[in-house]
């Protein structure tokens, strides 16, 4: 089938299968379909759209057909994306399974593990969370202490994770555990999968300064995990973790193209002779938007270079660093644009303080997924090749 034929086919399929209400923009990721055992669909259309896309493998277009993926080539996947964008189709499914575990399993998992888990990710049956960070570990991720003891026919997991995104809403966890307590810290780590309904697993949401609670503390108390649920080699989990961190970094750094500040400022503050009246704010916004536009082109350049076969490598750290710092700066400017209204915390008029809360939420951007300081360390070491202490 030629690419043109494929495009025609996709267009027809979308026309028939994507419900009209799924062709409208989402206000935030909260409106997205996250799937999983306990997911409450916002509408029948949302459920239908997931089922139909999941069946075609269009939730994960480039993953192999044999594991429930779409089996599309890069070019075909690009066409699918273009056609979905053309009709403003929402993604049928978003999840850490798609972004993180899937790619890791495809690269490091056994055939059996792929068969077991990937189709359920593709169909949105199982919602995954990521168990990396631990209390006190912070940027020094590899100092984790959650241990999995080898009990012959199973692992016995004890310990605690923190900053587990949506742990309270997830079905399974992919988790870094220490299997060789005596090995050097990077070498005793394994990558383990288990069901959050296992006996001994409990979660507790963390309230943030923004008032939101997207993260949990997660506790493991004598959790029994079957031997076969360790991914890759025992003691080599750090390799998988690093692979996924690079993935995550790229995702977090890629903030997309939000509504330009200048547009909001024009709406909110008005113009005189075509220019924002507040000359100082205009100057600040211009400085921000010049950098934001250059960042957008940099994401595009990195994407284009990756398509042309270049490896992104440590450049993902640069994208993560710049993208998150810019996003923080953007929200500081948004406060200035909204004036005192920005500081409302309750009340319908301010959507329960969305401006203030979103602003505070951005402060975590440069902490989660590797702090800005860690990214600068990585650039220094891996790109500039400056010497270690």
């Amino acid at each position: 089938m030629s690419l043109d034929e494929f495009r025609a086919e996709v267009r027809d399929w979308l026309e028939v299968n994507c419900p009209a209400s799924m062709r409208t923009p989402m206000a935030s990721f909260d409106e997205a379909c996250w799937g999983g055992r306990h997911f409450e669909f916002a509408s029948d259309d949302q459920r239908l759209w997931l089922e139909r896309a999941g069946e075609k493998g269009y939730t994960v277009p480039t993953w192999p057909k044999e594991y429930g993926g779409g089996g599309l080539s890069k070019d075909e996947a690009k066409i699918l994306a273009e056609e979905m964008k053309r009709i403003n189709a929402r993604p049928p499914l978003v999840s850490f399974g798609i972004w993180m575990l899937g790619p890791a399993l495809l690269k490091f998992g056994s055939h059996e593990q792929k068969l077991e888990h990937i189709p359920k990710i593709a169909r949105g049956d199982i919602r995954w969370c990521q168990g990396y960070s631990e209390p006190g570990a912070g940027s020094d991720l590899a100092s984790l202490r959650t241990k999995a003891e080898d009990k012959g026919d199973h692992w016995l997991v004890n310990g605690q994770k923190v900053w587990t995104s949506y742990a309270d809403k997830s079905d399974w966890i992919f988790c870094l555990v220490r299997t060789e307590p005596d090995a050097p810290k990077h070498e005793g780590i394994s990558f383990l999968l288990f069901d959050m309904e296992s006996a001994g697993v409990s979660t507790k949401p963390i309230k943030l300064i923004s008032g939101y609670s997207p993260f949990c503390e997660t506790f493991f108390d004598d959790v029994t995990v079957p031997k076969g649920q360790l991914v890759g080699e025992r003691g080599k989990g750090w390799t998988i973790a690093k692979y996924l961190l690079t993935h995550e970094r790229k995702m977090i750094g890629d903030i997309g193209a939000p509504t330009p500040l200048s547009q909001l400022a024009r709406e909110k503050l008005g113009t005189e002779g075509g220019q924002l009246e507040d000359a100082m704010l205009r100057s600040e916004i211009a400085r921000h938007e010049i950098d934001a536009a250059a960042f957008m082109f940099t994401v595009q350049r990195a994407t284009d270079e990756a398509k042309a076969g270049a490896s992104l490598g440590a450049f993902s750290s640069a994208l993560k660093y710049v993208g998150t710092e810019l996003n923080k700066d953007r929200h500081e400017k948004l406060l200035k644009i909204h004036g005192s209204e920005a500081f409302e915390w309750e009340g319908q008029f301010s959507r329960d303080g969305a401006v203030a809360k979103d602003w505070l939420r951005t402060k975590a951007n440069s902490i989660e997924g590797g702090t800005s300081e860690v990214q600068l360390n990585i650039i220094s070491k891996r790109i500039l090749e400056l010497p270690d202490r």
Binding site: G138, D140, S143, L208, E332, H338, S340, A342, F343, E368
Partner: protein, 371 residues
């Protein structure tokens, strides 16, 4: 004049620092927030503050005040900034007191010094400070006036017994001429006070007036310069509170850097963090000088706009840097509601915005410098 504190002020500073550290640590604000306290401040603390002389700190001794001047008020505000003390101090003891003094109104000063009846001032009508842009019009009715319209971002607006409202008695929005100040009392006909819960968990209100009876305070039409002077003076004290916030963030952050371990070492040994903390220290040191200079100038009684704009601009810049650096250097724990550091950033921004943000101050600084 020497840019230092004399012995008397040094004693005041120590007593204010000690008082607020003991009587109203940050946990108090958390408690008020979590209880959804309707009054929004602790009445017993306010009573204690009155006994300490803080409530009437700007007022002359004849009026029952402590007469410590703006340098004194700044020291109290700085101590409150360090502890994030919730209190009507700013609205009542600073803004209302400065406005009544600038209007030459002696009668109300006694009540002000006692603090039993709370005063506040209502200026803003939209999301930004714009005194000359005041639109609310006072209508002559019988022997007095009535007010109709909306005032926003009024500190302690829902608990105040008396609200000093800026309204137009002639001219149109954009003109400095034609403004007057009126007093409206709590419970007055047509007055609706709508408390607005804001990021800083402090008292703010929207006040809606509907043919509400109001009494003229001071002279008709010429209040612009008095209100401008009052907000300038308020800004010097706000700058001191922001300075307290910035300093406390630096202290808490360096303490954390000395204690927190990562990669097997104390993170305070990382040179990149050391340099950022040291830079922040210098930033705050500059602000401290600008704030003290502005407070001293306020006490000298002459023009204070240039100094107030300078101090407030510096304080906003320092507090923004300090709160952002504090959260970043605390890492994940700084993002949790359980930890106190987040309360500081939530207070710093609305406080900075009151009576004009950085750009407003910089613009004024430039204009008063002649460019």
């Amino acid at each position: 004049m020497s840019l230092t504190l004399n012995e008397e002020l040094q004693l005041l500073k120590e007593s204010a620092d000690g008082f607020f550290a003991e009587k109203s640590p940050v946990s108090d604000l958390r408690d008020l927030r979590d209880r959804e306290d309707e009054v929004g401040y602790r009445a017993d603390l306010w009573q204690d503050m009155a006994e300490m002389g803080f409530v009437g700190i700007l007022l002359p001794e004849e009026a029952g005040g402590a007469d410590f001047g703006y340098v004194g008020a700044g020291l109290v505000a700085e101590a409150m900034g360090r502890q994030l003390t919730a209190s009507p101090f700013l609205a009542h003891s600073v803004v209302a007191a400065s406005l009544l003094k600038a209007l030459g109104d002696e009668d109300r000063l006694g009540a002000l010094a006692a603090g039993d009846e709370l005063y506040t001032v209502a200026i803003d009508e939209g999301p930004r400070f714009d005194l000359a842009g005041t639109k609310m019009t006072a209508t002559q009715a019988g022997g007095g006036y009535t007010l109709s319209g909306l005032k926003t971002f009024v500190p302690d607006g829902h608990v105040a017994d008396h609200i000093l409202v800026v309204a137009r008695t002639s001219g149109t929005a954009g003109e400095t001429d034609g403004l007057s100040v009126f007093q409206v009392d709590k419970g007055a006909k047509g007055l609706i006070a709508d408390r607005t819960i804001m990021a800083d968990s402090r008292n703010w209100a929207k006040l809606s007036f509907n043919a509400t009876p109001a009494t003229l305070v001071g002279t008709l039409d010429g209040a612009y310069s008095a209100v401008e002077r009052a907000t300038d003076l308020a800004n010097t004290v706000i700058a001191a509170e922001l300075l307290g916030i910035a300093e406390e963030c630096l202290t808490r952050t360096t303490d954390y850097l000395k204690e927190r371990q990562q990669f097997g070492v104390t993170i305070g040994t990382f040179q990149a963090l050391q340099h950022r903390a040291s830079h922040l220290f210098c930033e705050i040191a500059l602000t401290r000088s600008a704030v003290l200079k502005a407070l001293q100038t306020a006490d000298e009684g002459g023009p204070v706009g240039w100094f107030a704009a300078l101090a407030k601009a510096r304080a906003i810049k320092s507090a923004e840097l300090a709160t952002n650096e504090a959260i970043q250097m605390h890492g994940g724990i700084g993002m949790t509601d359980e930890y106190d550091i987040g309360f500081y950033i939530k207070r710093a921004r609305p406080l900075a915005h009151l009576y004009g943000d950085y750009n407003v101050q910089a613009d004024r600084f430039a204009a008063l410098s002649g460019y």
